[in-house]
Amino acid sequence: MARFQWISCGKTIRESNRFLPPFAPWLALLCATHLWAAPAVSTPVVTPTSVVAGQATPVKATCQVTTASGDPALLTGGVNLVRLTSPAGTDASIIGAMTAGSGGSYSYSFTDTEPGPGQYGLQCTAAFSATIRRVRSTAATVTVSPGSPATYAVSSLTFSVLDSVSPAAGPQTHSIGGLTFSILNSVSPASGPLTYSISGLPFSILNSVSPAAGPQTHSISGLPFSILNSVSPAAGPQTYSIGGLPFSMLNSVSPAVAGHQTYTISGLTFSILNGVSPAPSTPLTYSAFGLTFSILNGSASLLGPAPLAAPSLSFRIPIDPVFLKEALARGARTINGKPVCMDSDGDGLCDSDELIIGTNPFRADTDGDGYPDGLELRLGSDPLNPNSIPDLRPPGYFATPAVSVINTIFIAGPALRRQGAFYAKIAP
């Protein structure tokens, strides 16, 4: 019976009007309401052929609609991809629609940007205008897995970021050793240098492959330097460059342990004790050989007197005599007995000048030989060498009191007996 009705309606309503006039309205109603039994030239096939299980968001699927020649045209907007399930358990919804074409084989692609990681049931539907006929595909299941953890590197410290949504909806907040920074990850993998910020210091990273296959170029406060991020903790000193000056850094543990770390710039060794993080709000300025560079790196000890065990700098910067004269004058200037410049350790040298000279601005006697740094420089000894001590004699000068002398020898004639005075002195 079902087959008869299917065929009967399939032989067109034109024939039923001639042979069954009394029953024509009923049959027309029957054929119009019984869609699945309506006659068609062929049976279209709708298949979600390209739904890939285990893919990352966004979900991409392709519906294939195949109709035979003479079949009714697809309804405009009639091909849709329906998500049958959702993470929240809501009903299926139309998530995409395409313009229909005429008879033949058509492929319709859909992109579902909404779901996150999870498992979804997808189904395609196709509607035909002439027969008001809708064809469904069988349901397919797609599994969306979370994105793989991406690896980044900041100053050779490797850290991982689990990027759950791509592109990120907004800046994400991460933390390294207590230093908070934000990342706005728009495209992954990054297509170009991305700009990040750590405590206000912007730097850019071109994140392509992790671990980095080669040196990457970064920038802190405009000074470019390159980092080859290989293994963290670093297995050995790595070589960097700031303003063309190479320096090596042995990065072991983050945050830095309480002990001092030793760095070198152009052979100049200096120590940094990175103790407390986050960093103070203002960058600290250092200088070596006239090259000034800033580090906004938390080191609480730099805000107060350095521990006595702090190793002194092991080099002596050739000091420009003109600069030294000016520095000594600055250090000696006072108003009401107070230095006019910041002289934290009271050694007669301004803190800023000590950073240039290489002495410790928080230790009056950097080399520990008992003589304040300013005194050593004033008297010509090396404040960075404990074996060099100043000459404490009065400024190269000793003099006797004058000794008056009168010569009483008799001289004939009108000449007067003359007086005189001796004194002796030792001058430089």
Binding site: G331, A332, T334, N336, G337, K338, G346, G348, A364, D365, G370, Y371, P372, G374, L375, R378, L379, L392, R393, P394, P395, G396, Y397, F398, A399, T400, P401, A402, V403, S404, V405, I406, N407, T408, I409, I411, A415, L416, R417, R418, Q419, G420, A421, F422, Y423, A424, K425, I426, A427
Partner: protein
């Protein structure tokens, strides 16, 4: 006010008294943690100047040199301890185990200049201990002397107002007052130049109170001579208090003859204490530095103090050289040395703790003659010696110059 204070104390409950006691102990503990060691051995016992008037001499240190190791120091109100360069040639170091109280005066100021009425009055002015003499004046055709010291004022009289004028004394020390050095003398001109202020270090392991005066001012110039420079005063103690005067001002100049109307350079007052509550009253002079006490006072060992002294003048044909007084005056009223010779003379000087290779120079000035100086003789001079020794230098003085 006192009554109110007493009433308040009387009403203090026991808990408040306990709190006050704890605060006092806490303060004492803090002070104890910031200790200062003067290094005094106490060998020179207590310095206690209570006699009204001026005391010009105290016993020499037991350890020699110019470093005193007192148990305590007290300069009573109305008493003055004058530390003159005529008595004490070098800087003075007062170390005290206990408290130092200066209610009177410690005077290391340089002598002011004067205008001679006869040539014999051309006498260098006397500095404070550790300072330098001011240059003597000219008189008629008799020449003047420049100021003594590392920064002694120079210039010569009688050449008008071109480039010649009397310069004041300068201060050659640094803000640490290490080494401790006094002010230099001003240049003599028509009057004698002012002498430099002296140099004094007072260190106490307990405290220093100055309600009186400590001065190391430069002497003023006379007529058109230069003023002497202020000297050096360094006080080191855990606490420095008082409302007295501590001054190291430069001496005022004489009237302006040409361009030489400059006062002597200001000296330096340095106060090193963890608790500095000293408030100066009246006019203060010199540059004032405040700092926390240095770990090293830089007190010279008596055996290492350098010195140079003119000991005698050898006269050909005379067996024994003519001795120079231990404290020559340089004055011509009663000359230090009287000679009777027409031959070249040898001036003998003694130096100790002078580095190897140092070249001493002997200067001679006389009537209306430019100052002459010995030419360096390097090769035979070998300094220092294990023990003080004499070294004779032949001066270029000629009999005619002293005839």
């Amino acid at each position: 006010m006192q009554k109110s204070h007493r009433d308040f104390s009387a009403r203090l409950p026991t808990s408040s008294l306990l709190l006050l006691a704890l605060l006092t102990l806490s303060s004492a503990a803090t002070l104890a943690g910031q200790s200062v060691s003067s290094g005094s051995t106490g060998a020179d016992l207590a310095l206690n100047i209570t006699s009204p008037g001026v005391t010009t001499s105290i016993p020499s240190p037991k350890g020699g040199g110019s470093v005193y190791n007192f148990t305590s120091i007290n300069i009573a109100m109305g008493s003055t301890l004058k530390l003159s360069g005529a008595v004490y040639p070098g800087p003075i170091y007062f170390l005290a185990q206990g408290a130092v109280t200066v209610a009177g005066t410690i005077d290391l100021s340089g002598q002011g200049g004067s205008v001679p009425t006869v040539s014999a009055q051309r006498i260098p002015t006397i500095p404070g201990a550790g300072g330098y003499f001011g240059g003597s004046a000219s008189f008629g055709a008799d020449g003047n002397l420049p100021g003594f010291g590392p920064s002694g004022g120079s210039g010569s009289a009688g050449t008008g107002c071109g480039n010649s004028y009397a310069l004041p004394g300068g201060f050659s020390g640094n803000q640490f007052l290490v080494p401790l050095v006094g002010g230099s003398g001003g240049n003599g001109w028509a009057g004698s130049g002012g002498a430099g202020g002296g140099a004094l270090l007072i260190a106490s392991s307990v405290s220093i109170s100055v309600t009186g005066t400590i001065s190391a001012n430069g002497g003023s110039g006379a007529s058109s001579s230069g003023g002497g420079a202020g000297g050096a005063i360094r006080l080191v103690a855990p606490a420095i208090a008082g409302d007295g005067a501590i001054t190291a001002a430069g001496g005022s100049p004489g009237f302006s003859y040409c361009r030489g109307n400059n006062p002597g350079a200001g000296g330096i007052v340095r106060l090193e204490a963890f608790q500095d509550t000293f408030i100066a009253t009246g006019t203060t002079g010199g540059n004032v530095y405040t700092a926390i006490p240095a770990s090293n006072l830089f007190v010279p060992a008596a055996a290492a103090e350098p010195s140079i002294v003119v000991t005698s003048i050898s006269v050909p044909g005379v067996t024994l050289p003519v001795a120079v007084p231990l404290k020559p005056t340089g004055g011509f009223t009663v000359p230090d040395v009287a000679l009777n010779s027409s031959s070249p003379l040898t001036v003998n000087i003694t130096a100790k703790n002078i580095p190897l290779g140092t070249i001493p120079t002997v200067y001679f000035s006389t009537l209306n003659e430019p100052i002459r100086q010995s030419r360096p003789r390097v090769s035979p001079v070998r300094w220092p010696r294990p023990q003080p020794r004499q070294r004779s230098l032949l001066t270029p003085a000629t009999p005619s110059a002293m005839s």
